[in-house]
Amino acid sequence: MKFNVPSARYGYALTAAQPTDLLDVQIQSEGSSANAGLARLILDPQSPGKPENQGNDLSLTNVRVSISAPRCNLATLIPKKEDVIDADVISGGHVAFWNVGDVFKGSQQQYSVNFVLTGPAHSRFEFVLQAAELPNPVRLQVDVSAGFQC
């Protein structure tokens, strides 16, 4: 599922020519189990950055991405903790996060985590993007069922 951040969500005014950032969230099954899958958020940053940063390629700063997967076991973060500022699975193993600092225009980022659905047949995943340029986090919710495809 693809989503463009509305221009009014940014903490600064965009000009008519300036695009916004695209998020693509994907949930796909993996392996032979109907309950095992991969949740992925792809961030394609195109926003121009804060006025003081415009003129360079910086798009978003202090970026944090998280994937919340209730009643799931999460494992295998990509990128790994060593490759970003920080990353981990927290909140009883149901939330994966990445602190990644600054991202540049056109530098597509991917964050993914393997999961196994352990609870009820339905679970509402939440993909969150936070950045200094976005006063409110961008939250995308996707319902997942056993044997899912998103």
Partner: protein, 158 residues
């Protein structure tokens, strides 16, 4: 199919009148069924003003960069915008726009309780299949700027 989103009472700057129903964003397009690639569709919603008059309204429909708002005045299905109307209309970004915005002109009267305002824009579904989340947004003096009044609808392109 119509999807109605009620603006939560927590979104208002001043506590709402509990005797009145709350304002609504009534999504009327695109259709919930899968649509073909490279086809013309309409994204639309009606703002049902039910609780209090709304001032300085800005209505926005945001598609994704995989879709493109159809060029030309005929693509702007409504409300009518420009001189002599309460609205100005613009699209973003300039090249291959995917966001439509209507801004109430400063001289326009508040939107009255009991009235309904349709907003609609025509777009091309593009050449990529998948699910695309469309955002419908309303800003007004009476609604908290820090907690956006938005709702979404998923467009499925074959």
């Amino acid at each position: 199919m119509v999807v109605v989103y009620t603006v939560p009472s927590t979104k208002y700057v001043v506590p709402v009148n509990p005797l009145l129903p709350l304002d609504e964003i009534e999504i009327t397009g695109p259709p919930p069924q899968q649509v073909p690639q490279n086809s013309q569709q309409t994204a639309s919603f009606t703002l049902n003003v039910k609780n209090k008059p709304l001032a300085n309204v800005i209505a926005t429909i945001t598609l994704t960069r995989s879709q493109h708002i159809t060029a030309g005045a005929a693509a702007n299905l409504g409300p009518a915008a420009g001189s002599g109307t309460p609205w100005t209309f613009s699209v973003n970004p300039t090249n291959d726009p995917y966001e439509a915005r209507w801004v109430m002109q400063a001289s326009a009267p508040d939107l009255a309780v009991g009235s309904a305002y349709p907003f609609a824009v025509q777009f091309n579904t593009g050449t990529t299949g998948g699910t695309f989340r469309i955002t419908y947004r309303v800003q007004a003096t009476q609604l908290l700027p820090t907690d956006p009044t938005e709702t979404t609808f998923d467009l499925v392109v074959a």
